[in-house]
């Protein structure tokens, strides 16, 4: 067993442990912190796969953006231990487990069936931003634009939800008059 393998096993174990911590810990902020550890270890694994751009993007978007927003929301709505007994359905964990096993089986099957071709040296340059940029904005430009439209729709939706109702539309002004 060489150094890279030991490293992979250590980091992978940490990653899986953190993922288990996300779903098992009772305090929402602790879950968010475990999620942070999970994302960080994933980024480390990306670096070992020579995908440095992906690792940086992972940290910038997930660790730097999404987990902070999660923490922000938790702090805004209060952060006591989760009282989910009322909404608790006994079949939910089993359904989740079954779906997880199904997904694992699907991914493993695909990987095992794929022919073991030697790695294309050009494709293995995933760490270099120029290669990613050229691929993204030439071959996959349609997908990029679709994602952009999706984000724009989400943005407009958020604006609509957060908009203050106009005075004549608001129910309170009717009451007052």
């Amino acid at each position: 067993m060489d150094f890279a393998m030991i490293f992979f096993i250590l980091v992978g174990a940490l990653s899986v442990g953190a993922a288990v911590g996300v779903v098992t810990s009772k305090i929402a902020v602790h879950s968010a912190l475990f999620l942070l550890v999970h994302f960080a270890t994933l980024a480390i694994l990306y670096v070992t796969l020579n995908a440095q751009f992906l690792a940086a993007a992972q940290v910038i978007i997930y660790a730097g953006g999404i987990v902070i927003l999660i923490l922000f929301v938790i702090m805004l709505i209060g952060s006591g231990p989760m009282e989910t007994r009322a909404a608790y359905r006994s079949w939910v964990p089993y359904a989740g487990l079954a779906l997880g096993i199904l997904m694992l089986a699907g991914v493993s099957l695909t990987l095992l069936q794929a022919p073991a071709t030697p790695i294309d040296p050009e494709a293995n340059q995933g760490g270099v931003p120029i290669v990613i940029g050229l691929t993204l904005y030439s071959q996959n430009i349609l997908l990029v634009q679709l994602a952009a439209i999706l984000l724009l729709v989400a943005l407009i939706g958020a604006l609509l939800l957060a908009r203050r109702p106009k005075p004549e539309e608001s129910p309170t002004s009717n009451l007052r008059s």
């Binding site: 912190l33 440095q52 751009f53 730097g64 923490l71 922000f72």
Partner: protein, 329 residues
């Protein structure tokens, strides 16, 4: 690769860097107190040693020997973790900053720029978690303010960084400093510098944007429940952040370790770190000058300025930069 080259040398370089930064932090507190005193027409620290030079040592001894108090009502694990999480990003961002010709502080990675963005993104965790784990309303309010402020100012900061990236055309900071630039590129960069500096002030929670710790509204904000060496760690994080961001600004805007007009670059390459340090000291003076001169804005003013002024400007700047690069470079 050789394990010696892979582990031992970066470790030694990191240790040297940490010692230099911690010393820099200690004397930055002295520098700031002396300068603030001059702005206020006072003397500042002048009892411990000549010119008060031993004051940082006295402060350090005091912080270390204070009793370590952990209040009963805190979330203990997160409470202890938070000061470390505040300090670590301030230190590790240095890994990619070039301190001499072709000589980064620890490693020249092809994604140096993204490293800075990524570490800047995780910088707010220490403050947020400190505020939450303290289980104190003032702390929580400070943490909420801090996270909202840092997220808001990260956007224009990121857009400005992308503009610099467009001009440089390379993700490596080592290449960025060495790359030749046309005169209009320098001017175009310097036009943006004041706005960039405002974003940096907000990102480092420095005055006038130190809303997360306003003493007249929130006691001490997120660090209300901290004392002794754990408080000192937050203090350290803030000041090392100042040094770090100054070094980044020196690298991005003022040629990093190089002298202006390319003087002496080839003759004395060992001068690089000292030239960078000199530029950092000048920029730190700017930080302290701003602190001594300007009052705090209200919180809503701060947020409105970011979203309604800085963000449109930075977007426009990025578009114009892209056009300039396409047509003139």
């Amino acid at each position: 690769m050789d394990w010696f080259e892979l582990i031992v040398i970066p470790t030694i370089r990191s240790l040297v860097l940490i010692v230099v930064l911690l010393t820099g932090f200690a004397y930055l507190t002295w520098y700031e107190r002396k300068l603030l005193a001059r702005f206020h027409v006072r003397y500042g620290p002048n009892r411990a040693g000549p010119f008060g030079l031993l004051q940082p040592v006295a402060d350090a001894v005091k912080a270390v020997f204070k009793e370590e108090v952990i209040p009963n009502h805190v979330d203990k694990a997160v409470y202890v973790l938070a000061p470390a999480l505040a300090l670590i990003p301030a230190l590790i961002i240095w890994a990619v900053i070039p301190i001499g010709k072709g000589f980064p502080a620890v490693a020249d990675v092809p994604i140096g720029f993204l490293w800075i963005l990524a570490v800047a993104g995780i910088e707010s965790y220490g403050v947020i978690l400190a505020g939450w784990s303290s289980n104190n309303n003032y702390s929580l309010l400070g943490a909420l303010r801090s996270s909202a402020q840092m997220i808001s100012y990260e956007l224009p900061l990121g857009l400005f960084l992308i503009s610099i990236l467009l001009l440089a055309g390379d993700f490596s900071l080592v290449n960025l400093v060495e790359a030749p630039r046309a005169w209009w590129e320098w001017i175009w960069l310097w036009i943006m510098f004041p706005l960039f500096f405002i974003c940096i002030l907000a990102e480092t929670n420095r005055s006038p944007f130190d809303l997360p710790e306003t003493e007249n509204e929130l006691v001490a904000g997120f660090q209300t429940e901290y004392g002794g060496i754990k408080f000192a760690l937050f203090f350290m994080a803030e000041y090392i952040n100042m040094i770090t961001t100054s070094a980044i600004m020196a690298t991005l805007f003022f040629g990093g370790y190089r002298l202006p007009f390319g003087i002496g670059g080839e003759i004395m390459p060992w001068l690089g770190p000292f030239i960078l340090a000199g530029k950092v000291v000048v920029l730190l003076f700017l930080f302290i000058w701003v602190r001594a001169s300007l009052g705090r804005p209200r919180y809503d003013q701060l947020m409105r300025f970011s979203w309604k002024t800085l963000l449109p400007i930075s977007l426009g700047y990025m578009i114009v930069t892209a056009l300039l690069v396409v047509f003139f470079k």
